[in-house]
C-alpha cells in the first residue's frame, strides 16, 4: 500500500494539534478564573471563593498536564514531520517559539507547583500571586504561539534568500498583520469557552441541589462573562475577517462560499459548495448581506473563488462548513449570555429549570467552536504552509510514509485512550464537587486522598468518598 507522506503528515499534525488546543484553551481561561477567584477571596475573605478556587485548581491540574504532554509533542513535530519547513522558517519563527518557552512555559509550569502544593508551606497572598503568574504565563504563551502561527498566515518583516527566510524587522515579524486579531480572537475564545464550562458545572449542581452557594457564584460569574465576551467575540471575529479579506482573500471567499467576484456577496446561511461546478447547491442566502458585512457597502464586491487559480484554492467545503459551525456556536453563546442576563435581572437565574438544563449541556460548545475555528484558518491557508512563500507539499520531512502512518496510528490510539480517561477523571472531580473530599485532601496534597479513615470508608461502602447523601447527579458528560 502506498502512503502519501504529505497527506499523512498533515493528518498527523491536524490530529495532534486539534487535541492539544482543547487543553491550552481551557487552561488559559481557567487559570485566569482561578486567579480572579483567589483575588476575590483575598479581597472579601469569603470562603466560597477559596473553595471554588481549590476545586477548579484540581481540574486545572489535569488539563494542564494533558496540555503539557500534548504540547511537547508539537514542539518536536515541527522537526520530525515538517523539517523542510523548519529549516526554511527557523530563523524567523524559531525565536518566537523560543520566547514562548522562556517567558511562558517555565512560568506556568513552575508556579503551578506552588499553586497546587504550596498551601501548607506558603502564605495565601503568595499562592494568589502564583495563580496570577500562572494565568499570565498561559496568556503569554498564547501571545508567542499565535504570533508564530500568524506569521505563517500573513508573513511580514522577513526576506527570502536562497530558499531560507531571514528576519529583517522583528517588530513586523511579531506584530504581523493578522496577529493582533488572531490573538484577541483566541484569547477571548479561551475565556468564553471556560465561562461556558463554569456555567455548565454551576447549572449541573443547582439542578442536583448541591453546592448552592458555590453554584450561584459560578452561575453569576459565568453569565456575566459570557454576556460580555460572546458579543465581543463577534466584533473581534468580524474585524479578523476584514483583516483576512485584505491579506488572504481566497480564504474569505471559501468561508463565504463566494464564487464570482463580479457580483455582490450573499450571506450564505446554508449551501453545499461544489468546487467542480463552482456553485453552492441548495443555497439559502440573504442577498447582499455578505457585501454589507465585508465591504460595508450594499453593492460592494470582493474577490470570489473564480478570481484565483485553482492551484491556490483551499478545500472549500471544509472551510465553508467549519466556519458555519464556529459562527453558529458563537451566536448560541451570545443568546445564552443574554438569556442568562435577562433571568438574572428578573431574579430567576437560579430556578429557571429550562435555562439550567440547557446550560448544563453547554460545556463542550466552546471547544468545538475553537477547533472549528482553527480548521477554518488552517485549512483556509492551504495549499500554503507559509502563505505565498512555501507550499505545504514542499515543507514535509524526508520520512517514509510508512513511518508517518505507524506513528499516526499510535497517536490516535494513545491520545484516544489517555484523553478519554482525562475527560472521565475531570468528570469524576466535578461529581465530587467543591465541598467534597477533593478539597479535604488538598490540605495534604491536592488531589491526594489518603487518610486511613477515608480508605476504610471507601472499602466499606464501595462508594467514592465525597459523594454525599445529596441527590445523584445527572451527568451531562456521560
Amino acid at each position: 500500500m502506498e502512503f502519501d507522506p504529505v497527506t499523512l503528515a498533515r493528518i498527523q499534525f491536524a490530529f495532534t494539534v486539534s487535541f492539544h488546543i482543547i487543553f491550552p484553551a481551557f487552561t488559559i481561561g481557567l487559570s485566569a478564573y482561578i486567579a480572579v477567584l483567589l483575588l476575590m477571596w483575598m479581597r472579601t475573605g469569603q470562603e466560597k471563593y477559596h473553595r471554588l478556587a481549590r476545586f477548579w485548581t484540581k481540574i486545572f491540574a489535569i488539563s494542564f498536564a494533558m496540555g503539557v504532554v500534548s504540547g511537547i509533542v508539537l514542539s518536536y513535530q515541527f522537526g520530525t514531520n515538517w523539517s523542510r519547513f523548519s529549516e526554511f522558517s527557523g530563523n524567523v519563527i524559531g525565536p518566537l517559539i523560543g520566547y514562548e518557552v522562556l517567558m511562558a512555559f517555565y512560568l506556568e509550569a513552575t508556579f503551578l507547583g506552588i499553586l497546587l502544593f504550596g498551601w501548607n508551606r506558603l502564605p495565601p497572598w503568595l499562592i494568589t500571586l502564583a495563580s496570577v503568574l500562572v494565568a499570565l504565563g498561559t496568556a503569554t504563551s498564547a501571545f508567542w504561539i499565535l504570533s508564530a502561527n500568524s506569521w505563517m498566515q500573513t508573513p511580514a518583516g522577513h526576506e527570502v534568500r536562497d530558499g531560507i527566510a531571514y528576519p529583517v524587522d522583528w517588530l513586523r515579524v511579531i506584530f504581523n498583520p493578522s496577529f493582533p486579531y488572531r490573538f484577541a480572537h483566541m484569547l477571548n475564545a479561551a475565556y468564553l469557552t471556560t465561562a461556558a464550562v463554569v456555567l455548565a458545572v454551576g447549572a449541573r449542581y443547582l439542578l442536583a441541589g448541591r453546592h448552592g452557594e458555590e453554584s450561584r457564584t459560578m452561575l453569576r460569574m459565568a453569565v456575566g462573562m459570557i454576556a460580555v465576551s460572546a458579543p465581543l467575540q463577534l466584533v473581534i471575529g468580524d474585524l479578523h475577517g476584514l483583516n483576512t479579506l485584505e491579506h488572504q482573500p481566497v480564504k474569505v471567499a471559501a468561508m463565504e462560499g463566494h464564487w464570482s467576484g463580479e457580483e455582490p456577496g450573499h450571506l450564505v446561511l446554508f449551501g453545499l459548495p461544489d468546487e467542480e461546478e463552482r456553485t453552492n447547491h441548495f443555497e439559502i442566502a440573504i442577498p447582499h448581506l455578505g457585501s454589507l458585512i465585508l465591504t460595508h457597502d450594499w453593492d460592494g464586491t470582493y474577490p470570489g473563488m473564480a478570481d484565483f487559480p485553482e492551484d491556490e484554492w483551499p478545500p472549500v467545503v471544509n472551510v465553508f462548513f467549519t466556519f458555519r459551525l464556529m459562527v453558529g456556536i458563537g451566536l448560541l453563546l451570545i443568546a445564552t449570555g443574554f438569556w442568562g442576563l435577562y433571568l438574572w435581572w428578573r431574579g430567576r437565574l437560579f430556578d429557571n429549570s429550562l435555562f439550567l438544563r440547557t446550560a448544563s449541556y453547554m460545556w463542550p460548545l466552546g471547544f468545538v467552536a475553537i477547533v472549528a475555528g482553527w480548521f477554518v484558518t488552517e485549512q483556509g491557508r492551504q495549499p500554503w504552509l507559509v502563505h505565498g512563500l512555501m507550499r505545504t507539499v514542499d515543507g514535509v520531512s524526508p520520512v517514509p510514509g510508512a513511518s508517518v502512518a505507524s506513528t499516526l496510528a499510535l497517536f490516535v490510539f494513545i491520545y484516544g485512550v489517555v484523553f478519554t480517561m482525562g475527560i472521565f477523571y475531570i468528570n469524576r472531580l466535578i461529581n465530587r464537587g467543591p465541598m467534597g473530599e477533593a478539597i479535604e485532601a488538598a490540605a495534604g496534597l491536592p488531589n491526594r486522598p489518603m487518610s486511613a479513615a477515608e480508605e476504610a470508608a471507601r472499602e466499606a461502602t464501595g462508594r467514592e468518598p465525597g459523594e454525599g447523601p445529596g441527590r445523584p447527579l445527572t451527568a451531562p458528560k456521560g
Binding site: E87, Y99, L102, L116, R121, P167, Y425
Partner: protein, 337 residues
Amino acid sequence: MTAMEWYLPVIWAGLIGTAVAMYVILDGFDLGIAILFPFARREEERDVMMNSVAPFWDGNETWLVLGGGGLWVAFPLAYSIIMPALYLPVIGMLLALVFRGVAFEFRWIAKPRHRKWDIAFAGGSIIASFLQGVILGGLLQGVAVEDRQFAGGPFDWLTPFSIFVGLSVVTGYALLGATWLIMRTSGPVQDLGRRLAPTLLLVVMAAMVVISLWTPLAIDRVAERWFSTPNIFLLWPIPLAAVLVAYIVWRAIGQGREAVPFFGTIVLFLLGYAGLVISNVPYLVPPDLTFWDTAAAPASQIFFLMGTIFLLPLVLGYTAFVYWVFRGKIAPGEGYH
C-alpha cells in the same frame, strides 16, 4: 566568518548544552523514581515516591522543550536533520512521556483502581528513558546527510550501540532516582533507595567504561580527540575524577549520608556528559556538520540571546525558589506540611 559569526553559535551550543544537561539531571530523577516504581511493593511507598517529585516535574520537563525548541531557534538545520533521522525514537519518547505525565494526575483520581496508572507511570518512564538513550546513541554514531537533508533510512538509529546507550540511560536515571529517594524521603522508601543505589552505581560505572571504550574504538575522530597528544595529557583527569566521585558516592551510601549520594551522582552525570561533549565538539550533527554549519542567521541568534540573558537567570531563580519552598523530607501519608 566574522568574529560574531564564530562566537554566536558557540554561545548557543553552550546554552543548549546547558539546557540538555539541566533536563537530564532534573527530569532524570523524576524518571528515575518511576523506573524504581516496580521495586516498591506497597501503595503508600509509591505515593511517597510520586509525591517527592510531584511539585517539580512540570518545570523539569520544560527543559526538554527548551532543548528541542532551542535547537530549532539556534540551529535550524541541525533540528531539521536530527528530527527526521531519529523520527521513530523521538515520537516514541514523546508518547511515552504522555503516559508518564498524565499518570501524575490520573493516578490519584483513579484510586482505588489506579494500578493501570502505576504501570503507565513506570512503563512510560522506562520507555522514555530508554529512547532518550537511543536518541543519544543514534546521534553519536552519526547521521547520513546529503544536500542539507537527512538521507538515511527509518531504522538507521537502531544499532547495538544505540540500544546499549539506551539501557545505560535507564540505569543512570534509576541511580539518580534512588539517590533522590535517599535524600528526600525516610522510612521504607529511603531504605529502598539505599538498597538499590550501590548495585545501580556499579552498573552505571560499568556502562560508562563500556561507552568510553566503545566510542573511540568505533569512531576514529573520537579516538583522535582523546588519545592524541597533547589532548591525552589534558584530558586524563576526567575519567579519574569520575572514578573518584563514584567512590565517594559509594562510601556515602554505605555511611548513611543523605545528600552526598544524590549530588555526587549529579557530578558523575556531568563528568560523563563532559566526556561526550569533548568527544564530539564542534560537531552538532556527527559526523560532518558543526555548530557553525547549522547555525541560524546571526540576527535570529542575537534576538533570542538578548531575551535569554535576562530570562534564563529569572527562570533559574524561581526554579530554585520552588525547590527551596518544597525542601525537606516527605513523610509517608502526610504529603507536604
